[in-house]
Symmetry: C2
């Protein structure tokens, strides 16, 4: 049986974003597993306009080509990991916009979080996102990565200078494997 | 002495947005006051890109023309009212992006909220925004408007079918007048 597909959504498109290292580190930790297939979902590859449609995505009648393509991409995955920076204690607009642009494709699927940032490791952005994903009918998992001081966290080879978050990442991956229904794969 | 200028920021750019009626209703209520000058700040007039600069706005070295123009506009006001819809229990991307794109221009100024939506009147989006504006060094006020069932709330002439929120709006305006330092005007 093919293991379920998990999109690791990189929620920053900023020049010089720290999130690229974070996402690649997380993908590397999940690469050896036979119970999950992880794929990077880079929002730079999905340049959506600010949501401006006259009809709410929950109505399901998508009418914008970028929205329709994004919906088809989101539908491919059986679970998600949202890799998010924290901007002013909240989530970045580009990630919220990607979440808000479609609806049914997210529903009934587990979602976990990898936050990064300064001293707090993005935890405030993650808490706000948990409130959002519930309304998208996703299943937010308790397990999470909180990666503080992200600008000095990695060696040049992309590994962490100080261990700890690898264990958090493993618990995220275990929880995703536990909660992603195999009947969906 | 010129009364302080308050930007009433319309936080939706969506086609068919309900927020336009809400913002115009609120502006109408404030039009007769001699202690505040209210001006509409429509985000449709400020088409910012998704924030992607290499340097954080808190550094103050803005390098994008749209960002520089937005900063000059924001700097004109001595206080703000954020008129916000609620998308999936959170704030819309277009409003968060406008907040995140600049920094120092918001600081040290009072901000109040007019939320609108379904049964809850946008209160969840407003609570998330309060967490954000504190980190922008703004002063979030307790007084707020929560406008439920927005699609049936207004008569054709733009007045509310059921009274109540006018009183909330008056308390918002009073609080803004109380807390906006006149020395800034």
């Amino acid at each position: 049986m093919t293991p379920p597909l998990v999109h690791v959504v990189l929620g920053s498109t900023r020049q010089g974003r720290a999130g690229e290292r974070v996402a690649r580190w997380f993908l590397g930790l999940g690469a050896g597993r036979d119970d999950l297939r992880l794929e990077l979902g880079d929002l730079r590859d999905w340049p959506l306009p600010f949501f401006d449609r006259p009809r709410p995505p929950a109505a399901g009648d998508y009418d914008d080509p970028a929205q329709i393509a994004w919906a088809a991409h989101v539908a491919e995955a059986q679970a998600y990991v949202l890799v998010t920076p924290e901007y002013n204690h909240g989530y970045p607009a580009v990630l919220k916009n990607a979440l808000d642009t479609v609806y049914a494709e997210w529903g009934g699927k587990p979602v976990a979080f990898v936050g990064y940032g300064g001293a707090a490791g993005g935890v405030r952005a993650v808490e706000q996102l948990r409130q959002v994903v519930v309304e998208l009918d996703m299943i937010p998992l308790r397990q999470q990565v909180a990666l503080p001081r992200v600008y000095s966290a990695f060696d040049d080879d992309g590994s962490l200078r100080h261990p700890g978050p690898e264990r958090e990442a493993a618990s995220v991956l275990d929880a995703l494997a536990d909660w992603t229904p195999s009947k969906r794969s």
